[in-house]
């Protein structure tokens, strides 16, 4: 169940997902195929109902596709049991949400360390790693604070730290700038870019944010559950030129 260091971060082949059945069924993903190499920052765009969130759920292992296969770091998710899927997710996939989804009853340190603690690590063992990560994300000394005491931008940084703490192959982000003002949102996108370069972690971000493309290596556009466009991001284009 460990990730293969040579395998791409994400391999999705002919993935189909349908909600409902018969005439009223909605095809959320139609034979979608996508490969995301390691250390790539991919922005997935599309209108509401285009299949972005369904794609995120399938790649995160939260939902099994009706047909097709999805592998993360070389591990095919559909072969994992419920428990194995949970263990794989906490070790190899980080998730960041629009509404941060921090555990309000835990401190910042415990929120960040959550995937490792669930994996049986003790707090003293994770403390160093968490402190370093918080410092890297501009929140040094915030570990003991209650999650609910932070600003929106700080909460999103804590959520990003939680997504990265297990040093995953892949970070999936669903509208991570949707609840932030534009300046804070840009700082989060810049942070994703830096972390992608620094750590070699692949980032796949679902967003409506047009500015996001400026930070991405690649921009994928979905329409009615199918890949409509797959091109280089502004950063890649700039690098190429």
């Amino acid at each position: 169940m460990s990730a293969d260091p040579r395998a791409p971060a994400v391999v999705a082949e002919d993935v189909c997902v349908t909600y409902g059945a018969g005439d009223s069924g909605v095809r959320a993903l139609r034979a979608l195929s996508l490969v995301v190499p390691r250390a790539q920052f991919v922005v997935v765009r599309g209108r509401s109902g285009s299949g972005k969130t369904t794609l995120l759920h399938v790649v995160a292992g939260l939902r099994r596709p009706d047909t097709g296969r999805v592998a993360v770091g070389g591990t095919e998710l559909s072969r994992l049991s419920e428990g194995e899927s949970a263990r794989f997710r906490r070790r190899h996939i980080g998730l960041v949400y629009q509404f941060f989804n921090l555990v309000p009853t835990l401190s910042v340190e415990h929120n960040v360390a959550l995937p490792l603690l669930l994996d049986g690590w003790t707090i003293p063992r994770v403390r160093g790693r968490v402190e370093a990560l918080l410092a890297r994300l501009g929140l040094p000394g915030h570990g003991a604070r209650a999650a609910g005491e932070l600003s929106g931008g700080q909460m999103q940084r804590v959520a990003i730290a939680r997504a990265l703490v297990a040093e995953p192959v892949l970070v999936l982000a669903d509208e991570p700038t949707g609840s932030l003002d534009s300046e804070t949102g840009r700082s989060v996108l810049a942070l994703f870019r830096e972390l992608c370069d620094e750590r070699g972690t692949a980032f796949v971000m679902m967003t409506h944010d047009l500015d996001a493309a400026a930070f991405a290596d690649r921009v994928v556009e979905l329409r009615d559950g199918a890949l409509e466009r797959d091109g280089a991001g502004a950063r890649a284009a700039t690098a190429a030129s």
């Binding site: 995160a60 428990g83 997710r89 989804n101 959550l114 669930l118 049986g120 707090i123 005491e149 669903d174």
Partner: protein, 850 residues
């Protein structure tokens, strides 16, 4: 307007939706809780009322309708006094009455025989009321035959006899055969003692009992227009020193006192059950409100008035209450049937109406109690959630923003603990009946106030917790912290229940240990002979003088100590007189061996002084050196109190005296019991005595070991009652935990989904719920344990005040450990469903929160 116009149909639809839709499990748990608390209260009410009604009916039926009576208790009033009373100014008629308990050989059951003057003019009128429906061919024939008896129809059927048949009985003078001269229909006196009653002519009964010249009481009917107060005073002068003049039923008796104590316990339990049910109702409805947040917000936005929303919540509560009360009442009726035998056994211990069954019924009072417990608790629990629901607006329906974590609170200073302990200390002076619930309430409040600081303390120790329980240890208590008010209420309720059950266990253990010590010390090396089953001396059967003489002369018997038990009136109440042969008692250490001053007190008894039981001394504030005045046939006699002895003889207590002193003042027929001693193995001696007494006297032979066994069996009745009540209390506690955990699971769903997306496996979430439950149980057991030990003290005092049982405090550690294990098991079992529920939470639900 929309809300008003559509209120009824929309309200019904929404009500049905809320009760039967998403909240099915909550509805079920709440209904079960209300039903359990209602069942607890009503079952105890019905069973105690059944025993009380039996006692009241018996007292009323036996007293007749004479407004005054002259009595000296069981010791008897000299017959010559009837004439003096009858001729006193203002008396229309006066008649003697006598009663005794015999054993019907065929049915092996006791029968209460009432002897009345069938020919006395006034009493005849009084009796006539009871004789309606009595099948008597010739009333004069009843009076003419010395063995004629009128038997209740029920008892006749039980004994398999009918009109004109012979009825073999055992009385104080041994076996006798009576003649059934008539049958009493099921009315009036025939309903006393649940129908185990017979009527005889008073003079025939005197002969049967060997009490010629004495009656138990003289029933007096005043002449028209005579003031009862004046007549009471006048008759008091006539009977001075020999008997007391009373209005029937005025003086309290042991049974009434005992049942009153049981009923007081019912009130306490009903209050406790209601409080727990209210908590559960609150938890269920507040969770329902949380889950329907968006629905209420939308309803308010579309025109529902705040009152309409409140009505929806209160409607839910009423529905729960109606179903829970009905189920609880039905369950209470069934449970009452289980409690009655234990209650009658306890009452029998003091009163001696063994094997008489009380009838259970649902009265308007029972229904009112059920409704009070069921509806009041449900509605009390609904007020808070209903108020909360009316404050929901559409803005609340937006996806939840992160909630601020509660600011950590410090551990309460010593002041809080000192205040609680100070309050308990102040309560020391008040009656135990009030103190026990007050201490429970203070303890519950303290327990509730300790929850938040304890959870904060646990939060600061997460590093240790993560080491102790890898994976989810650091999350331990976070669920409970998410619902601090619900957790505090649950801890308070469960602590109270644990305290109550623990107090009851201490009571039971103390009772068993005291009874065993009391019995175990009494008859070392001796064999007790009784005409009643052991530990039922109050049944009044006597060992005939001839049988006593036979036993004394039996080969192998080295010594005999006789005992005679009777009842006398002291300060208007019926107290037991227990006459022993003091010197023989001293020789064989039969009497309270090792008790302080035993030897001196017994020596004083031999000189004609008396001793009193500790209960008597406590009740009448009598101490060594005081004097007691007791009525005797020859006038009032004063006795000096030489000391006190422990006893378990009921709330009125016992006066001890030497048999010779008794014989000097009162008539006596045979012995209530006797002890004989042998030089060696008592078995062949018992066989010899049996042969010598022809085995026809129906005697019971009991050595110390057998008596201990009997005592254990009796204590088992006490245990059975406590076990039933304790089990219900534990069920309530289990339901409370299940309710709280379900509420937590619902309230924390977002957090649990988040944990799943962060990589928590389903089993880890289940483990978290179980660990929270265990944490809750351990905290409640610890607090409840301390509280229970505290409450045991007033409970023991209640036993002394209400039941006359002065018990040595005894902790049965094995049973207390079992209680802790049972509570833990009940809590974990209660947590099983919430744990299974959270196991099913899918990480995919995260999409519904974003």
């Amino acid at each position: 307007m929309i809300g008003r116009r559509w209120r009824v149909p929309v309200g019904v639809v929404l009500g049905v939706n809320s009760a039967l839709g998403a909240n099915r499990v909550f509805a079920l748990v709440t209904v079960v809780a209300i039903a359990a608390s209602t069942a607890l209260a009503t079952s105890l009410e019905m069973s105690s009322r059944a025993v009380q009604r039996l006692a009241d009916r018996t007292a009323a039926a036996l007293a007749g309708d004479a407004p005054l009576e002259v009595t000296a208790g069981e010791l008897g009033v000299p017959e010559r006094l009837i004439e003096a009373i009858a001729h006193a100014p203002g008396v229309a008629s006066a008649a003697g009455a006598l009663s005794a308990t015999l054993t019907v050989d065929a049915a092996r059951v006791p029968v209460h025989v009432l002897g009345i003057d069938l020919l006395a003019e006034g009493a005849a009128g009084e009796l006539a009321a009871h004789r309606r429906g009595v099948d008597v061919r010739d009333p004069l024939k009843v009076v003419a035959r010395s063995d004629a008896v009128l038997l209740s129809a029920g008892l006749a059927a039980q004994a398999g006899v009918g009109f004109d048949d012979a009825l073999a009985v055992h009385g104080p003078l041994g076996a006798r055969t009576l003649h059934v001269e008539g049958l009493l229909a099921d009315a009036g006196v025939a309903r006393a003692y649940a129908g185990q009653i017979a009527v005889m002519d008073v003079y025939a009964l005197q002969a049967l009992l060997g009490r010629a010249g004495f009656v138990d009481r003289i029933e007096v009917v005043p002449a028209p227009g005579v003031s009862l107060d004046a007549l009471e005073a006048e008759l008091g002068r006539v009977a001075a020193g020999t008997a007391t003049v009373e209005r029937p039923g005025r003086h309290p008796d042991a049974l009434g006192q005992t049942v009153a104590g049981l009923r007081a316990a019912v009130l306490m339990l009903a209050g406790l059950g209601s409080a727990v049910a209210a908590l559960l109702s609150y938890a269920a409805l507040s969770t329902a409100v949380e889950r329907r947040l968006r629905e209420f917000a939308v309803l308010r936005a579309t025109g529902f008035a705040a009152r309409d929303v409140a009505v929806l919540i209160l409607g839910d509560a009423l529905a729960y209450a109606a179903v829970g009360t009905a189920l609880g009442l039905a369950a209470g009726r069934v449970l009452a049937g289980r409690f009655v035998p234990a209650m009658t056994a306890i009452a029998d211990f003091f009163v001696g109406s063994a094997a008489i069954a009380a009838e259970i019924s649902v009265s308007p009072g029972t229904v009112a109690l059920a409704a009070a417990v069921g509806f009041a608790s449900a509605l009390a629990g609904a007020v808070g959630p209903a108020r909360a629901a009316t404050r929901r607006w559409l803005a609340d329906a937006a996806p939840e923003a992160p909630r601020a974590a509660a600011a950590p609170t410090r551990l309460p200073g010593p002041l809080v603990l000192a205040a609680a302990l100070g309050a308990c200390a102040l309560l020391r002076g008040i009656p135990p009946r009030v103190r026990a619930p007050a201490e429970l309430a203070i303890g519950a409040a303290l327990a509730a106030s300790l929850v938040r600081p304890a959870l904060d303390f646990a939060a600061r120790r997460r590093a240790g917790l993560s080491r102790a329980l890898p994976g989810v240890g650091h999350l331990l208590g976070t669920g409970l912290a998410a619902r601090p008010r619900g957790t505090a209420l649950a801890v308070a309720a469960i602590s109270c229940l644990v305290a109550f059950v623990l107090g009851a266990l201490v009571l039971s253990a103390s009772f068993g240990a005291t009874l065993a010590a009391f019995v175990g010390a009494r008859y070392p090396g001796g064999v007790e002979v009784t005409a009643n089953a052991p530990l039922e001396p109050e049944l009044g059967q006597r060992i005939a003088p001839a049988v006593v003489a036979t036993i004394r002369a039996a080969p192998g018997v080295t010594d005999v100590c006789e005992r005679y038990l009777a009842h006398a009136l002291f300060r208007g109440e019926e107290v037991a007189l227990s006459a022993y042969q003091a010197e023989a008692s001293l020789r064989h250490r039969v009497f309270a061996p090792g008790h302080e001053g035993e030897r001196d007190t017994l020596a004083a008894l031999a000189r004609g002084e008396v001793a009193v039981s500790e209960t008597f001394a406590r009740r009448y504030d009598v101490a060594r050196g005081d004097e007691l005045e007791l009525p005797t046939p020859s006038g009032a006699v004063r006795f000096r109190v030489a000391g006190t002895f422990p006893n378990l003889a009921g709330p009125m207590g016992v006066v001890y005296l030497d048999l010779a002193a008794f014989d000097a003042h009162w008539p006596r027929t045979g012995a209530s019991s006797l002890l004989f001693f042998t030089a060696g193995d008592p078995a062949p001696v018992i066989a010899a005595v049996r042969r010598a007494t022809a085995d026809a006297a129906g005697l019971f032979f009991t050595d110390q070991a057998a008596l201990l066994e009997q005592a254990r069996a009796f204590a088992g009745n006490f245990d059975a009652l406590l076990f039933g009540v304790g089990s219900l209390a534990l069920c309530l506690g289990g339901v409370a935990i299940a309710n709280l955990l379900l509420g937590i699971a619902a309230a924390r769903r977002r957090e649990l989904v988040l944990l799943r997306t962060a990589g928590a496996a389903p089993n880890q979430l289940a483990a978290l719920v179980l660990a929270d439950a265990a944490l809750l149980a351990c905290g409640s057991i610890a607090i409840g344990g301390v509280l229970g030990a505290l409450v045991a003290s007033p409970l023991l005092e209640i036993m002394a005040d209400e039941f006359g049982l002065i018990l040595d405090t005894h902790f049965d550690w094995a049973r207390l450990a079992l209680l802790a294990a049972l509570v833990l098991a009940a809590v974990l079992a209660s947590a099983a469903y919430p744990a299974a529920l959270v196991r099913r939470i899918a990480a995919l639900e995260i999409s519904s929160f974003a």
